[in-house]
Symmetry: C2
Subunit: 434 residues, 2 copies
């Protein structure tokens, strides 16, 4: 007897849309932490987010069909948090803490939906922007990135035969498992999945997370993806992002306010969260400037997440900062999350092992590494450096300097102004692959 | 909506047997060619076949459950040729010839079933033997080997988790495709699947055959597996096996009859088949002896299949034979089929390229190579050298000397007698991996 589920097959005949984002929990955990604080303290701020493709050699508008993009974005706008999802957010403990999210915030989420988007294309690349209350536009970052990345992957695979797809995914799985076997050699490894935004696709990210859970056991501490964390009983991992200091600086009335913004963000954050959530993201306007001007209490925080300077240099700077303030780095935490892959994880692990607690956020090279896997040898699957950045807050321009000028965003005159305020110490251009 | 075919799932709950051999066409093509001739000329001969495990370090009886083995063998005994299979055998052309199989033979096949088997186990290895008319016992060779090999693979995989299986097959596919990409570099390659008997499993062989069809295009000329050839519209590939000279020699009345048996087989064969089916298998009693004593007309045959001597040495011997008889080797064919893999295929290809027509029969290392693929690093999947050999004909002992003493079969006194008859020229021991 040949078994075919005829109802399923008939549904497939009439295929309309294979939704990329199917849950509002299919986002990074830090968005929810930030959102609770933004709503509490900055509910009146408008913020504009914009999709920025730093890989200029890849012309997304040539690859992705505009109607398909609209259909996926529209589908995401139709989503609401499911009741069981809100119950889980309310009842689960995060970073060891019960009731991380207030009842008031959970009730507010019940009515949440993604706000309208603006999609323009005039003789060139897509312009995809999100205007409106910061409490709403901020939530587009991850689904917008996941949608565009997965549409690009689908386009690259569109004309492939059934067999080529089979080989492609077999190689992808074999490749990831070889990485898992190398990581197993690091006994004190602490690693988590940070790969939602630039993943090949949701199902592939799910497979990658399952692979790390199976292969690394307790060394794999969880996923930034809230839905995958819930579904797999993993820890949801994440703290905060550049948008906080970027918006605070944009809203500042003068240069002194801009200079103070990074520390004001930390004050706001520590009024909401504690313990392992006290992780500084120091590079929005340059790590060297941040450490130079940091008040002494910043050394009380649990850790730092260097995200754009070379990881060993950045780690050494931060360890020196702790030592200047009389702290033992072995009590402190460094989280490495900038384009890491097995080679750099091994290098950084061995460099700092025993000197500081370490954790790795493994992103694009976990969930979107099909390099060398395509049996047709075609391009189109190599990951690109796509970000969704806040560009304006209450109409005022927002800026990110970063430790790597290739990752800076903002208008040129504003970047120049910020460089005058913060200086350019330690900034060094390097290629941004992912 | 979660889609599960409840009828299928319920069937699965009540799982009884997953048959390994599901069709009498799931055998090697040469069995049918030989069977037609055996029935025509030797319908009154009884022949005993016995399963012989040359990999003595692997104790099959410790791995395979006797009840499961009986259930699979019994299932195979219940099979009959399906009507559409006989229609295909009658209507298809093989090696460019219409009506390869006579109507009389096809009608006889309609009633064919595998004869009884004997399975004993007394404080040691299984003894699996097939007694009865040669026309019936000969047909057990391939299904018996396929069943035992697949049961061994199933046993090795029994306790594996869902994820380990996923990684295992992903690596297996990636590994095979890497081989395909290397073989693609050989522009004049002619290769076929010879991997039925020692395959990992039927479904895996099917995948491997599809991979070669997809990846090598016209360089992949077909499969020895008749069912896969039919299902995939490929050529069925194969000629004849050692059992023909082994039975002829066993039946001989004296030493002179034994010495003449290899050539008598060829005379019988060329009375039935022609063209590319005129391929000599020279090594049953040693290739050097065969070539030394061969009548001149043997040089008229299309090709040779060296099957136990080192392939380059054997090929050179055969080319020298053709040259002694004034033939141009470029008009002749060498088929290499003894434990080939990509390394040896490349080596042999480059050695003989331009000097002789070549074809490769790729067996165990095509359809059963999971070396290094098991994420648990466990053993149990490495291929073993399992054969089913004729041991008696009409009650008289049968012998194979082979070019490699490790591949010899038969009683010691008979082997000694055959060595006196044929000599030991050119025989050299080498390890038998597969």
């Amino acid at each position: 007897m040949a078994v075919t589920d005829i109802a399923t097959r008939t549904w497939d005949h009439n295929w309309r849309l294979d939704p990329i984002v199917r849950s509002l929990l299919d986002t990074d955990f830090y968005k929810l932490l930030m959102l609770q604080m933004i709503r509490h303290l900055h509910g009146d701020v408008d913020a504009t987010f914009r999709l920025i493709n730093r890989s200029t050699s890849v012309r997304l508008a040539d690859v992705i069909d505009e109607d398909e993009l609209r259909a996926q974005l529209d589908h995401a706008r139709g989503l609401r948090f499911a009741k069981k999802e809100l119950i889980w957010l309310a009842g689960n403990s995060f970073y060891g803490q019960e009731r991380m999210f207030s009842g008031d915030f959970i009730r507010w989420l019940a009515d949440f939906q993604l706000p309208p988007y603006k999609l323009h294309r005039v003789d060139g690349p897509f312009e995809l922007t999100f205007d409106g209350p910061w409490t709403h536009t901020t939530m587009w970052e991850i689904p917008a990135l996941a949608i565009v990345n997965e549409l690009r992957a689908r386009a690259a695979l569109r004309d492939k035969g059934r067999f080529a797809l089979d080989v492609l995914y077999a190689r992808g799985k074999a490749k990831l498992w070889d990485k898992v076997e190398r990581l197993r050699e690091l006994p004190d490894l602490v690693i988590s999945d940070f790969g939602t935004r630039r993943r090949h696709g949701f199902l592939w990210q799910r497979w990658c997370v399952e692979a790390l859970k199976e292969g690394l056991g307790g060394r794999f501490i969880g996923s930034s993806n809230v839905l995958l964390a819930m579904d797999n009983d993993l820890e949801a991992i994440g703290t905060n992002a550049h948008e906080l200091p970027m918006v605070m600086a944009a809203l500042a009335q003068d240069d002194a306010g801009v200079a103070a913004a990074p520390y004001r963000v930390l004050e706001e954050w520590q009024a909401h969260y504690g313990g392992n959530l006290l992780v500084v993201l120091p590079d929005a306007f340059g790590t060297a400037a941040f450490l130079r001007d940091a008040p002494a209490w910043v050394a009380d925080w649990t850790g730092f997440r260097p995200d754009s300077a070379p990881p060993i240099e950045a780690g050494e700077q931060i360890i020196a900062f702790w030592q200047r303030h009389g702290r033992d780095p072995r009590d402190k935490l460094l989280i490495f999350s900038d384009g890491m892959d097995v080679d750099s994880i091994e290098r950084v692990y061995h460099h700092f092992h025993g000197r500081v607690r370490m954790s790795f956020g493994w992103g694009t090279n976990l969930t979107n590494d099909f390099r060398g896997c395509d049996p047709d040898g075609a391009a189109g699957l190599e990951p690109i450096s796509l970000v969704a950045k806040v560009t304006r807050a209450n109409g005022r321009p927002a800026v990110k300097l970063s430790d790597n000028p290739a990752k800076a965003t903002g208008e040129a005159t504003e970047i120049a102004r910020y460089l005058r305020i913060f200086g350019a110490d330690g900034r060094a251009q390097s290629a941004v692959d992912v």
